[in-house]
Symmetry: C2
Subunit: 106 residues, 2 copies
DNA sequence: AATTAATGAAACCAAATGGTATCACAAACG
DNA sequence: CGTTTGTGATACCATTTGGTTTCATTAATT
């Protein structure tokens, strides 16, 4: 099953969620710890974490009465792959245009 | 001025817009040409193109009565940079954890 | 046992989003 | 010229989104 891109791209589209990812790159944190870094309720942060998890960008796991959240190191891969493909397609086309021009002006 | 990430990430969040980018990677196209590839009105496609342009992922220019749209080859760069930074931060932390474990178990 | 702290879950709300339809206008073409 | 074609600009609509509040539950603490 090729990983679904859409949930990942959707998760990345919100600035708060991107900040959460950078936070979690520093260390894993509980929901309460993450929420202390933002001027919004725990409930709101909790929803953001859920969307990040749907996008497979983080994993979470209950531990005692809290839930710890950690970055999923492989989660960005499909997104990066998609972008690199686009980059490559663009480069190919640029190269094709360039050689066509050279043929015409030679 | 560091390029604003938000409009680019926002533009990438929609599947139709990602398909448009791949289309334009093949060749530049007018609005009408792009819209023929999608089961929606020209007006809708036109809005998508506008959002892609706000994200600096494409450029557009009127030519006669039509408007041609082309990929902006540098538009993806800020997004790629952001993701690679996150990747690197994550790798650093993994390495730190690993060496800490090795110290404790030696 | 009683209290506190962290989470889960649901209802609710305003604003953004992705789409439509419609009208006006300019350019290409017979 | 008249007609067609591509675009620009609105107004409008349903759904999604990002946030809140509230209440229940469960684990840690004293």
């Amino acid at each position: 099953m090729t990983p679904a891109l859409q949930p990942a791209f959707r998760a990345l589209a919100d600035p708060t969620r991107r900040r959460i990812l950078r936070l979690l790159a520093g260390s894993e944190m509980t929901i309460a710890e993450v929420s202390r870094a933002f001027p919004m309720t725990r409930a709101a942060v909790r929803k953001h974490l859920a969307i990040l998890e749907q996008g497979a960008l983080i994993d979470s796991e209950p531990r005692g009465r809290e839930r710890i959240n950690r970055l999923n190191p492989n989660g960005l891969r499909p997104v990066l792959d998609w972008m690199h493909e686009l980059d490559a397609a663009w480069d190919d086309r640029l190269a094709a245009l360039k050689s066509a021009i050279e043929r015409n002006t030679s």
